[in-house]
């Protein structure tokens, strides 16, 4: 702006000089033109200085500096923000911009909000919630009715929503409080695919939630990973004064602070020296140039279950953000938890004292991580990473390449390299299975069937998050003994939903020499998925229920019998389990238009279950099957069903995704 003003002042001075010359009817001499130039420059300097001074008085050149009711983005401490990167790296910027990393935290705007704010009204927690836009802002009005007998009007509270989280599967919102920049948690979340508002607690594997609008959760927890260089800055007297380098997960989260790089590369000679050099750029970290351990740690700084080592580190984080920078040894500055071989006893003990169920909320009892977003923990336990060179970048790519033919949205879904949904990921190293006959001989399944997809056996969907089952990122082998001991469903029975653990153990023993464990009569006779649905805990029910809708499993197991079990999930005590069950149910013939509300009243859910059973009874009858508790007429063997169902202990399961 100052350049514009300077030019304007110069042009005006020259124009005045010309006019003056015309009035006097003689052109100006060289001396006069020199004087005009000096006066013009002086005027330009004065105007620029006045403009800058005015900006300083207003708190900075951007509106961000004037905001007081939410955390603000201030690019300092070596950070410059993605806007600066864009100028020189347009393709990388563009691919990042299309990724869901960018939208992890956004300031609500017409461009960023995908939820319904067009006067949408919903009723939850015994209250009416209305979502609407007002000017540039987004608001929620909450009406709390008085008791029925009271004649007083309802209590009304209006909240301004100042930050959002996510935009891919769900969009959560945070509201401004009267407590500095501390944010309150909006009790409702927008489900993108379903296009509806649901209680925030309903999207997690957790017992039914109550109205929770606590302040400070974002400032303490989300700020750790959903922004670049978050600093909570807690002040006991005034509340949080949180600052971030940039909202969302952007360039400098993975490449480190870029101020030095940007300054160095302002010089074109430095840029071209780097263009023509085979050496790594010393001014910035490129995870692709790091060792497989260090590059994975860049992802692991967020995608892991971790804890800072001591109170001093936590204080430093609160003030200055994490000490870790991409390229550093992640484990030097924080403790990444491992369930079994965790040697750092002090941190673990401290954690267990404050949160006794910490591990079971995140790991299966055999040490495999069971919540989404913690994939680095999974990979740490993988032999391919421990003894080989497997890293996150072996399969994933953070910037879609120019010659990748996939639509940008398809790439952005999991940010996988081309071909990585098939066996390419594994045969990069395990080249022996590139040959179709060798692959089929190893898998005992046709080479092009889902049973010959490496992932399906070695990375089954045993992780939960985002209201679905997600692939485990620990590469391991299916094992019935582990299924029994840890309760973690095995890959074979997650595809062959109609088979028993006995069937699986016999196959694994015959094909791979895995010893068959001792099994109970029911483990030998009843299909494993049926038992997980009927008597498993909420985590097992969610995983099994999700697989009832998984196409390879439906193809391998048949679907005529599934309605009876998915109907059971419609009346589950966990919201997420009901949601997953309903989503799988809709995939069955005759259920595409089945109407059901997974966050409806208890009565409506019970009615939904009965209606689903009715629809199932009217459909094609399944063949009799003892493992599936289907009798001669294709009907459920109700006595057995009820007997196994009554054994469900239903322990409280809270998965901290």
């Amino acid at each position: 702006m100052s350049l514009d003003l300077s030019l304007l002042a110069l042009v005006l001075s020259a124009g005045l000089a010309l006019v003056w010359g015309q009035v006097r009817r003689e052109p100006l001499g060289g001396l006069a033109w020199g004087a005009v130039l000096i006066v013009g420059l002086a005027g330009a300097v004065a105007v620029s200085a006045g403009w800058k001074s005015s900006l300083r008085r207003n708190g900075g050149p951007t509106a961000e500096g004037r905001i007081e009711n939410r955390p603000i983005a201030v690019a300092d401490d070596g950070y410059v923000s993605s806007g600066r990167c864009r100028a020189c790296h347009p393709r990388h910027y563009d691919t990042w911009h299309a990724s869901h990393h960018r939208t992890m935290t956004q300031v609500p705007s017409t461009a960023s909000v995908v939820a319904d704010f067009d006067d949408a009204t919903v009723h939850h927690f015994g209250r009416d919630f209305r979502f609407y836009r007002g000017g540039e802002g987004f608001f929620m009005q909450m009406e709390t009715p008085r008791s029925r007998s009271s004649a007083e009007p309802a209590e009304s509270r209006t909240l301004e929503l100042v930050l959002s989280t996510g935009a891919h599967h769900q969009q959560a919102f945070w509201f401004a409080t009267e407590n500095a920049r501390s944010l309150g948690k909006l009790p409702l979340t927008w489900l993108v695919e379903e296009r509806r508002w649901v209680p925030y607690g309903s999207i997690f594997v957790a017992p039914p939630s109550r109205l929770d609008m606590r302040a400070g959760v974002w400032n303490r927890t989300c700020i750790q990973c959903h922004v670049v260089s978050g600093r909570p800055r807690w002040e006991p007297e005034s509340g949080h004064d949180s600052r971030v380098a940039e909202f969302g997960i952007s360039c400098e989260a993975c490449h480190g602070p870029a101020q030095g790089h940007a300054a160095d590369h302002r010089n074109p000679l430095n840029r071209y020296r780097e263009h023509f050099s085979s050496e790594d750029d010393p001014t910035l970290v490129n995870p692709e140039d790091l060792s497989h351990e260090r590059s994975s740690q860049v992802c692991g700084q967020c995608h892991s279950v971790f804890e800072l080592r001591d109170a001093r580190s936590r204080q430093a984080f609160d003030r200055d953000g994490f000490a870790y920078r991409p390229g550093d040894d992640l484990h030097a500055s924080r403790h990444v938890f491992r369930y079994g071989p965790d040697e750092d006893a002090l941190v673990v003990q401290q954690k267990l004292e404050s949160s006794p169920r910490f591990f079971e909320q995140r790991f299966w009892p055999d040490g495999m991580v069971r919540v989404s977003g913690r994939e680095y923990n999974g990979m740490l336990e993988t032999p391919c990473h421990q003894r080989g060179t497997l890293s996150c970048l072996s399969c994933h790519v953070m910037h879609q390449s120019a010659d990748d033919p996939r639509p940008r949205e398809e790439w952005a879904d999991d940010q996988l390299q081309p071909g990585m949904r098939g066996n390419r990921a594994c045969v990069q190293c395990h080249t022996e299975y590139e040959a179709v006959d060798r692959l089929a001989a190893h898998t005992h399944h046709p080479a092009r069937s889902p049973g010959s997809n490496c992932y399906n056996c070695h990375m089954p969907h045993t992780t939960l998050g985002l209201m679905k089952a997600i692939r485990s990122h620990t590469v391991d082998n299916p094992n019935v003994a582990t299924s029994i001991a840890a309760g973690r469903p095995n890959a074979c029975n997650l595809c062959h939903l109609d088979q028993t653990l006995d069937w699986t153990s016999q196959k694994l023993a015959a094909w791979y020499g895995i010893p068959a464990p001792e099994l109970s009569p029911e483990e030998r006779e009843i299909a494993a998925s049926v038992r997980w649905i009927l008597e498993g805990d909420a985590g097992q029910r969610a995983i099994a229920g999700w697989h009832y809708g998984w196409p390879p499993a439906r193809e391998a197991s048949g679907t005529e019998w599934m309605g009876a079990y998915l109907a059971e999930l419609l009346d589950d005590s966990y919201d997420v389990v009901r949601f997953i069950g309903y989503r799988s149910l809709r995939e069955l013939p005759g259920f595409a238009d089945f109407d059901y509300d997974f966050v409806g009243s208890e009565v409506s859910r019970e009615v939904g279950r009965l209606r689903a059973l009715e629809v199932w009874s009217d459909g094609d009858r399944p063949a009799p099957s003892k493992p599936l508790l289907i009798g001669d007429q294709g009907a459920l063997i109700q006595g057995e069903f009820d007997r196994i169902r009554s054994r469900r202990l239903d322990p409280v399961v809270i998965l901290a995704e």
């Binding site: 020189c88 393709r91 990388h92 071209y272 120019a402």
Partner: protein, 155 residues
């Protein structure tokens, strides 16, 4: 004001005029054709021209087209203004003419070649031609302006 002994000033003016007219019209043809090609790249949604990663190439080739066409028109204007500017200054004429021809070639070609291989937002090494062409253009324009302002024209 040195005269070239073996060629009359009038002959030099004629030769120079013809040279700029030929160059100008052919450059206009060539760079207008480049414009058509660029439109074609848009029309057929060619990814190595339109994708976001190729923003630099798109900019450089558009600059090549624009500068090429404009400088072709400048050559024609220069040819038209010759008798007014250089009634008798053959050295100045040669300097301005050569510089303008070099500018008409180097400036747009620098943009075009620089856009063939790009490094993010940085053009390829061919871009060095453009500033050289730019300097030539300044010399030609400055020298012509000077000649027009201070020579006693006799068309």
């Amino acid at each position: 004001m040195t005269e070239i002994p073996d060629e009359s000033n009038e002959a030099l003016l004629l030769r120079t005029r013809r040279r700029h007219l030929v160059f100008g019209w052919w450059a206009l043809f060539g760079f207008a054709l480049l414009g058509l090609v660029l439109e074609g790249l848009h029309g057929f949604k060619v990814h190595w021209f339109l994708d976001s990663g190729y923003e630099t190439r798109r900019l450089l080739w558009r600059l090549a087209h624009a500068h090429g066409v404009l400088l072709a028109l400048v050559q024609l204007g220069f040819a038209a203004s010759l008798p007014f500017a250089w009634p008798d200054d053959s050295r100045g004429l040669r300097l301005a003419s050569t510089s303008l021809l070099l500018a008409g070639l180097l400036l747009p070609l620098g943009f075009f070649v620089g856009g063939i291989e790009i490094y993010g937002s940085d053009p390829g090494p061919g871009i060095v031609l453009s500033p050289v062409g730019g300097v030539c253009l300044l010399i030609a324009v400055g020298r012509t302006a000077w000649a027009l302002a201070f020579c006693r024209a006799s068309p």
